[in-house]
């Protein structure tokens, strides 16, 4: 049993407190203590503490926050902190809860980051569809401004910074950091090529910019209060602290849980009574998504794998944004694959041709297969389109348990951002593991019967 009942709740500790979203409730539970400690230090010391804690980014890519800050030229003026609250990866349900139930924690985390990086201004980019989260953050910001936690001469020091709450307007692609910056500049949210547009060098308005995820920043107040060693003591050697996972799909107790990084296994996520609680109707697990819609699927043989990026990556998938979706034995894998492909087809921004054309072709071909008009050559066509978006062997577990993965994560791509190759993940996973289901759909094509009759 590796699910610790005494695990400190680093980011979700205030979720059960009814008034935690107000300044009173936040201060009563130790709020803004981390900011006070940070302000008593030099900015470089704060960077060192966060680097020492090794907070891996919780947005999807898993890049350590402290290292990211080191890329920033703090002498350049001006430079910015942008908080990525555009959570929309299929299956993810953590940043919204953090913003709704504990907005001050995010504000405090942003302030610590702004102080450490000597940023001129903080932009809080919240997904447009999350009206309640926007209200909670706006109310919290207004309180924080009125009580001298944000604005001029914060807490009596000579340090000042502004936080601007920005609303998105409904585009998954804006979750990509460069697309988010384009959107924040008031343009269509299309990603910029990296290189040269690494945000830490050429970000918002071409100034150096740090883009951090909501959960990543929410960890900072706890780290400032309890120290980097306490944070690093939680989790495995290579991935520190806790992370939020959203368990959804065919489990008995879907929910957002805070678990220890790198220790808890997928089996525990699905079956532990304090987490998933078992598969719906006690069915068998057919497949599961380990890290959001963009991750290649895992199967029952991966259940004993810990939630550690250094283990999951070589096995051909990723932990991404912590979205774990269970699919039980009753699931129609062709339909599940089609629905995810349809998502990427709808959300492709249209900048790169392989993604713009490829995603919608994949959707149309899968749709005709499901409607009983599939052709035998469609499987080859699907593979070919997938190869155009992500050339070479695509990451993913081998269909034969025990064999090495096809390729380790991440994927290769012919597109600027990761949306393109993400569409290939569900496609390849379903095609490799469940080819019979595709064949069964294609065999339903009535056209073949007519050919037999006319011969």
């Amino acid at each position: 049993m590796t699910v610790r009942s005494d695990l400190p709740k680093i980011v979700s500790g205030r979720w059960d407190i009814a008034d935690a979203h107000t300044l009173d409730g936040y201060l009563r539970t130790g709020g803004y203590e981390g900011l006070r400690r940070a302000l008593a230090m030099q900015p470089a010391e704060v960077v060192d503490i966060v680097t020492g804690a090794t907070v891996q980014g919780r947005g999807g890519a898993g890049f350590p926050a402290g290292n990211k800050w080191h890329f920033l030229d703090t002498a350049a003026f001006p430079h910015w902190i942008v908080v990525n609250g555009d959570e929309s990866e299929p299956g993810t349900h953590k940043d919204r809860t953090l913003m709704e139930r504990d907005p001050h924690q995010l504000i405090e985390g942003s302030l610590i980051a702004a102080y450490a990086c000597k940023a001129s201004q903080v932009f809080l980019y919240v997904r447009g569809e999350m009206a309640f989260a926007q209200e909670r953050i706006a109310a919290a910001l207004n309180e924080a401004y009125a009580n001298n936690y944000v604005g001029k001469n914060i807490l009596g020091t000579d340090w000042s910074v502004d936080i601007t709450l920005h609303w998105g307007a409904g585009a998954y692609i804006v979750g990509d950091e460069t697309a988010l910056l384009e959107s924040l500049e008031g343009k269509r949210g299309m990603p910029r090529p990296k290189p040269p547009y690494f945000p830490a060098v050429m970000g918002l308005y071409m100034n150096p910019t740090i883009v951090n995820n909501v959960e990543t920043l929410s960890n900072l107040p706890w780290i400032m209060v309890n120290g980097a060693e306490a944070f690093a003591a939680i989790g495995s050697v290579k991935s520190n602290g806790t992370r939020l996972i959203a368990v959804s799909g065919h489990v008995k107790q879907p929910g957002t849980y805070e678990v220890e990084c790198g220790v808890v296994t997928f089996r525990e996520v699905f079956y532990d009574p304090s987490l998933g609680g078992g598969i719906r109707d006690d069915n068998d697990l057919k497949a599961f998504i380990p890290g959001g819609g963009s991750a290649p699927w895992f199967f029952e043989e991966h259940l004993d794998m810990p939630l550690d990026p250094t283990v999951v990556g070589p096995a051909g998938s990723m932990l991404g944004s912590g979205a774990i979706v269970a699919m039980d034995s009753t699931t129609d894998m062709v339909k599940a694959c089609w629905r995810l492909v349809k998502f990427y087809a709808r959300e492709s921004c249209g900048k790169c041709t392989p993604c713009r054309e490829g995603t919608s072709w994949l959707e149309l071909i899968l749709e005709r297969i499901i409607k009983g008009h599939g052709r035998p050559e469609d499987i080859g066509l699907l593979l070919d389109i997938g190869d155009n978006i992500s050339p070479g062997p695509f990451p993913g577990p081998n269909v034969t348990p025990g064999e090495p993965a096809y390729a380790p994560f991440p994927y290769k791509k012919t597109t600027i951002c990761d949306l393109g190759p993400s569409v290939v993940s569900p496609l390849m996973s379903a095609l490799r593991r469940f080819p019979d289901e595709f064949d069964a759909y294609i065999a339903r094509n009535p056209r073949k019967l007519i050919e037999v009759a006319s011969a």
Binding site: P90, A131, T164, A169, G186
Partner: protein, 191 residues
């Protein structure tokens, strides 16, 4: 329909002042215009362009990229049924069929009385309480056909004060404050 009202103009100028460059206020100002009219009208886009110093075509080009901006009037309540993977596994397509029957319009349609527009939307970050429905971006969680019909009846009867008409996004705004550190010049207060 209309340019921004005098009251909204004050709000718009406060929003613009919060950004180092006015163009960044494009999306929030389009939200403001949509809040005023229920959709994003051509005159409003023209007005936004004047306020932030770009062309109306640039405002239109950006606004049309984002799904939340409706360039034509919609129903008073925008009903978005999520059918992405987690909701699909919990029966979202069956729920969507029920919604179509119950409202009497196909996906994308508006009821003749102008009350409801039905949409099939992508993951709305409510995966652990699937299937999820958003009405004007307010969440209804673990929706069943029965609870959906109850919701529709409540909306028709006008007993759901927590759901404002389409266009109103957040009812709480970041307000102008005398503690605002930036006096207008980009990043003037930086250490």
């Amino acid at each position: 329909m209309a340019r921004l009202s005098a009251h909204n103009l004050v709000t718009a100028q406060a929003i613009i002042a919060r950004y180092p460059k006015p163009r960044s206020a494009l999306v929030p100002l389009c939200h403001l215009a949509q809040e005023q009219d229920g959709y994003l009208a051509e005159d409003a886009m023209q007005h936004v362009a004047e306020l932030i110093g770009c062309t109306a075509a640039q405002v239109y080009g950006t606004a049309s990229f984002y799904e939340m901006f409706k360039l034509h009037p919609t129903g008073k309540y925008l009903v978005g049924v999520c059918t992405n993977i987690s909701c699909m596994l919990s029966g979202a397509f069956e729920l969507l069929e029920h919604c179509e029957r119950s409202l009497g319009v196909p996906v994308g349609g508006t009821t003749p009385d102008g009350m409801f527009t039905l949409e099939e939307v992508e993951c709305s970050a409510a995966c652990t309480v699937a299937p999820a429905v958003q009405v004007n971006y307010r969440y209804e969680e673990s929706v069943t056909p029965e609870s959906f019909d109850t919701l529709v009846a409540q909306l028709r009867a006008g007993t759901r004060d927590d759901i404002p008409p389409h266009g109103v996004l957040a009812t709480v705004r970041q307000t102008p404050t005398d503690r605002w550190a930036n006096t207008g010049k980009t990043g003037e207060h930086a250490p």
